[in-house]
């Protein structure tokens, strides 16, 4: 008879990645059935409960406390195992690996590298301003990965930086590509003529890998943080980035990827673009269709999806290559139709809902826009329309699209692009619902991400299939892998693993959303509606 025990260490901090590693080590200890070491946030306590690893002791922990949770085979061993786990936790992180290039303060690092030109800052949001400001005062550009940075801190940092010719990329900047190097969560992308300004992290990843795939490449990819285009911040870094890319000789076309900016920010940016000379693709992902002012209609080309933005860039920069690019990353409507019809034949009449489980927020959002037109109301933890907010983000209903990178799932935990645990549980859960027809998954490759996200998820897909099969059903799995062949995980290898497991893969997220909508509608979408959506989101 196995037994579960929790030990709470009050006011004890390790970052979420260290905790994930410690959990893995704890699971390997002799006699341990399952183990998890987490900070005591509500999300983590909920997760422990789902894993059957929470006791009253653990439930009493606060978010400043660490919970050591373990299930052991033999009750007599439980104290001993907990002690072993505790000593793992108490060991200073990677104590053996003290390197020359490691410092304990910003000041000493600056002394050792006086010509540093970029700081990558990922401290908790409340401390981000103080750390980032030290770098700006030394004339160092900042990529600020931290989220939960108060907006007044963001404004203060950006105003200071802007007046001194410095970038503050972020906060909440998951991705940048500077001089061909991937910063934080970014892919190994060839250099090329497209400069990207993105207030949407996975948006930048998706367009940059697709630009790589169609042979164009990226000059610079500047992630400015989602709040930059809100009126409180006023687009300070969007403006500075656009101005810099206008002057950068390697940039021929500028692509802007963002949710629709606030009106005053959009007006300001339009003015900046108006004073420039280069060509723009404006990918504003939103419910309303963006139309550039007439006088700029030959310089600003709007695109309603990431997919379309990339094809539009090809059309503008290498029009002769457009047919090849279409072949590479797009599908004809007739192809999408026939594939979907074939797949939908596997479904029982009751199976009619999509469950889209995303790790990438912008990819999730792009799919919501497509679903809105093709299947109607879609529930989400980050919906387009508040009427469709899921009452419980841990529980899907009808068509549901989940952003597993949202705070409710990530408080005190690594991002799902690094730690697949929560999504795996969710995949299996969704398969228990007899009305589920399609489960769609994104896999984001590149630096920062899990070393083998597909490999780490396959057992959950298998378990989900078995669960459905016991009930005489088959679930259709679809996936989009956002990555390049040069990424550490390898696009081809990851896609091959999925296909081998019977998962249908798509070269872009927009195509996956489109196809999954067609499958659940079983061919019953009015053809004018279908053609309109295809034109708006896919066709160039």
């Amino acid at each position: 008879m196995s037994i579960v025990r929790n030990l709470v260490k009050r006011n004890f901090f390790r970052d979420s990645l260290q905790l994930m590693q410690l959990s893995e080590e704890a699971k390997k200890l002799p006699g341990v059935v399952d183990a998890a070491i987490v900070m005591g946030t509500d999300t983590n306590k909920e997760l422990l409960e789902r894993l059957g690893l929470l006791t009253d002791e653990g439930a009493s922990a606060s978010e400043n406390d660490m919970i050591l949770a373990v299930r052991v085979e033999d009750e007599a061993r439980v104290d001993e195992v907990l002690q072993e786990i505790e000593s793992l936790v108490l060991k200073p992180p990677e104590e053996a690996e003290v390197r020359e290039e490691e410092y304990y303060s910003v000041e000493s690092a600056l002394e050792s590298m006086p010509d540093a030109n970029l700081a990558v800052v990922s401290v908790p949001g409340e401390y981000a301003r103080d750390v980032a400001m030290k770098f700006l005062e030394h004339g160092v550009h900042v990529h600020l990965f931290s989220d939960h940075v108060p907006i007044e801190h963001e404004v203060e940092l950006k105003r200071y930086a802007s007046s001194r010719g410095l970038f503050v990329l972020g906060p909440g900047a998951g991705t940048s590509i500077i001089n061909g190097k991937a910063i934080a969560f970014a892919n190994s992308v060839r250099r090329g003529p497209v400069g990207i300004v993105a207030a949407a992290g996975t948006g930048l990843q998706e367009v940059s890998v697709l630009l790589d795939s169609v042979g164009l490449g990226v000059s610079q990819g500047l992630g400015i943080g989602g709040n930059d285009v809100k009126k409180e911040v006023g687009g300070i870094m969007a403006r500075d980035s656009i101005l810099a890319l206008e002057r950068d000789p390697k940039t021929k076309l500028i692509m802007i990827v963002s949710k629709p900016p606030d009106k005053e920010v959009l007006d300001r940016l339009t003015q900046v673009v108006g004073e420039g000379k280069k060509t723009y693709v404006a990918c504003f992902l939103g419910k309303t269709v963006y139309r550039p002012p007439k006088r700029l209609s030959m310089r600003i080309y709007p695109a309603r999806s990431l997919h379309k933005a990339v094809l539009q860039a090809v059309k503008l920069l290498r029009p002769k290559k457009l047919p090849t690019a279409r072949k590479k990353i797009s599908m004809k409507l007739s192809e999408l139709r026939s594939l979907s019809l074939k797949l939908s034949k596997k479904l029982a009449p009751r199976q009619r809902y999509i469950r889209a489980l995303y790790t990438g927020g912008t990819l999730m959002y792009e799919s919501l826009l497509i679903y809105r037109q093709l299947v109607g109301g879609v529930y989400s933890n980050a919906p387009l329309d508040e009427r469709y907010r899921l009452p419980d983000p841990f529980k899907s209903m009808r068509h549901s699209v989940i952003d597993l990178g949202e705070e409710v799932f990530t408080a005190g935990r690594p991002h799902p692009m690094i730690d697949p645990t929560l999504r795996k549980l969710r995949i299996v859960e969704e398969a228990g619902d007899p009305e589920v027809a399609v489960i769609t998954l994104d896999f984001v490759l590149g630096y920062g991400a899990h070393p083998d996200p597909v490999g780490a998820t396959l057992d959950a897909i298998e378990e989900a299939r078995e669960r459905a099969a016991e009930d005489g059903r088959e679930i259709i799995f679809m996936a989009h892998v956002c990555g390049t062949r040069r990424d550490p995980q390898g696009l081809r290898e990851q896609e091959a693993k999925l296909r081998k497991a019977g998962v249908v893969t798509f070269p872009t997220n927009a195509l996956m959303a489109f196809a999954s909508a067609l499958v659940v509608k079983k061919g019953k979408i009015r053809s004018d509606k279908l053609r309109k959506a295809y034109k708006e989101f896919i066709e160039v």
Partner: protein, 62 residues
């Protein structure tokens, strides 16, 4: 700093070899090093809570 000097500073980043100081998540340090970027790592931990509260209380008093 004039606007032109500010712009020159931004463009200089695009022309220069990256030299990075990473503060916080070590994985970003490792990934940059893997790409051949010159990078140093700052092992950051939050300042002790009590000190911060004291500091704030002192700030108010002064």
């Amino acid at each position: 700093m004039s606007q032109e000097e500010a712009m020159e500073r931004r463009l200089k980043l695009f022309r220069s070899e990256l030299k990075v100081i990473n503060v916080g998540l070590e994985t970003f340090y490792k990934d940059l090093a893997r790409q051949g970027v010159k990078v140093v790592h700052v092992r950051w931990s939050p300042p002790p809570k009590l000190e911060k509260e004291l500091e704030e209380a002192l700030d108010k008093l002064l």
